[in-house]
């Protein structure tokens, strides 16, 4: 193993330019995949954060009786999917409304001599995969109740939103898969090029009595090292880009989705990316060296 490591280092020193070109190619290729992952992770997180903000608002009629309100509250409390229920009296709703628009006060608000807003219940649902379906069903149940004026939970865009999320996930996975396949081909070809640049040396080694493993092991170690370095540089590049985007656009993002921030790929993804870069380096070298050591090639 020491001899192989020594040979690997010696090979790299002798063919430093080809080695660096291979590392650069792997870096570029993995940066594309990594950026893709960052986009995927952030879009997914954005959609999830956004979807968490969906609430069911039950607007009450102004003439709702105490009994009707109690019945409604009991019905809501009995639903195990409801995480919290907040009652907002019409006075509070009106005060909130006026506060929100206080900066651009219009005569229209001042001229109003009555409170046009109804009292309401804001219902938050527990997170689950079929949360939207549950909200929809519960809304249907409440729709006919006495004392309920109307319901709001973004039913118009909720279905479209769900479909969009599913489409985005499938699209990203499919494109990511194709990209990975492309990467393997690019990296395998790059490593093959580095072999061609040393074809003479490999042939000579075979002619002067090197064992196949003596030739194979250093080249495979080199391939793995190329992959690892390419992976590390790619991650560094992506981190740099992520930080840049975060500094530049974090404010805009927070205004769209509160509590949301530009994320870097998670640790499992980082290890996955590094492991696959090493694996691809190894596979690329293995395929290339096998061709060189095959009897057909030796002839």
């Amino acid at each position: 193993m020491t001899t192989s490591a020594h040979t690997t280092i010696s090979n790299i020193k002798t063919n430093l330019q080809v080695f660096l070109i291979s590392v650069a190619t792997i870096t570029v290729a993995f940066s594309i995949l990594g950026l893709f992952l960052v986009v995927f992770v952030n879009l997914n997180s954005f959609l999830t954060t956004w979807s968490k903000q969906v609430q069911l608002i039950v607007y009450l009629k102004d003439d709702i009786s105490q009994n009707q309100r109690q019945g409604l509250e009991q019905l809501i409390s009995a639903n195990s999917d409801v995480e919290s229920m907040t009652f907002i009296p019409r006075e509070t709703a009106w005060a909130n409304f006026k506060n929100t628009f206080s900066s651009n006060k219009s005569d229209f608000i001042d001229d109003l001599t009555f409170n046009p807003l109804p009292s309401s219940y804001n219902l938050k649902f527990k997170p689950s995969n079929d949360r939207f379906i549950k909200i929809h069903r519960f809304a249907d149940l409440l729709k006919g109740r006495k004392g309920v004026e109307s319901l709001e939970y973004g039913e118009k865009w909720l279905g479209a939103f769900e479909k969009f999320m599913l489409f985005i996930r499938i699209f990203l996975l499919a494109v990511g898969g194709l990209l990975t396949l492309g990467l393997i081909l690019i990296i395998s070809n790059t490593i093959k090029l580095s072999f061609y640049s040393r074809q003479e040396e490999i042939e000579l080694m075979l002619l002067i009595g090197a064992t196949p493993n003596f030739i194979r092991v250093p080249f495979m170690m080199e391939g793995m090292l190329q992959g690892l370095l390419g992976g590390i540089f790619a991650l560094a590049l992506i981190k740099f880009l992520q930080l840049y985007v975060k500094i530049q656009f974090q404010g805009s993002l927070e205004s769209i989705a509160r509590g949301m921030e530009f994320q870097f790929i998670s640790q499992p993804f980082i290890f996955g990316l590094l492991a696959s870069s090493v694996l691809i380096g190894w596979v690329g070298s293995f395929i290339s060296i096998r061709q060189f050591l095959s009897p057909a090639h030796k002839k």
């Binding site: 002798t14 003479e200 000579l204 002067i208 009595g209 196949p212 009897p295 030796k298």
Partner: protein, 218 residues
């Protein structure tokens, strides 16, 4: 040391490259292998080195039936043989010392032994003063001497030389020939392929002549 029995090799053309070749070379013997261009000298050497396979017959090298050696074990044969190529096959990016040491490295010798044996091999061919030079900086004769040092550094039992003086002028060719004769004196079996008839006549070594793939004078 080397025995060939009815060896036949064809590349698919009308006439076979080698036809029923039978001869042997004793241990420590020096033979000239000669014949016109295209006669089959290189094919014969390639068969002995197993870079080519033969179609029929049997070849024994140092007691090994080389036709039965699996590809993955070919290194066992090649470590017994030093091969000198007409085009030297030196690595341009390695120095003279590194080129010779390379043959030791590939068989897994330790560093101390590599240094000692490489220095000794370079001394034998008179090139210690050029150890840090690179092949492109050397003359043809010097490059061939490096190739010979590389072939001898692992103390092989057999040396196969394919037209080692083909690109060199007569004076240098004689120097190169002397290096092979020196190896013979140390007990190495030498098969020296050449079409230089003057060189052959100047020495008293046995001559094996091949013409159109057939043995003419064993």
């Amino acid at each position: 040391m080397i025995q060939l029995f009815n060896v036949r090799k064809s590349y698919g053309g009308v006439a076979p490259a080698l036809l029923d070749i039978t001869f042997s070379v004793k241990k420590g013997e020096f033979i000239f292998l000669t014949g016109p261009s295209g006669a089959g000298k290189t094919t014969l050497l390639k068969i002995l080195y197993r870079t080519e396979k033969y179609d029929r017959g049997q070849v024994l090298v140092h007691g090994m039936n080389i036709g039965k050696i699996p590809d993955r074990k070919l290194y066992t044969l090649r470590r017994e043989i030093g091969f000198v190529f007409q085009d030297y096959k030196l690595l341009a990016k390695k120095s003279v010392f590194e080129n010779v040491a390379f043959a030791q490295e590939v068989i897994g010798a330790d560093k101390k032994r590599i240094r000692f044996k490489t220095w000794e091999a370079l001394k034998n061919v008179g090139l210690t003063h050029k150890k840090d030079s690179y092949p492109p900086e050397l003359s043809g004769g010097e490059q061939q001497r490096v190739a010979i040092a590389r072939a001898l550094v692992n103390s092989p039992k057999i040396i196969l030389a394919d037209e080692p003086t083909g690109n060199l002028d007569p004076e240098i060719s004689l120097e190169i020939l002397k290096l092979f004769e020196h190896a013979k004196k140390r007990g190495v079996t030498v098969v020296f392929a050449t079409h230089d008839q003057e060189m052959i006549r100047s020495r008293k070594h046995r001559v094996v002549v091949i013409k159109r793939g057939k043995l003419v004078a064993p």
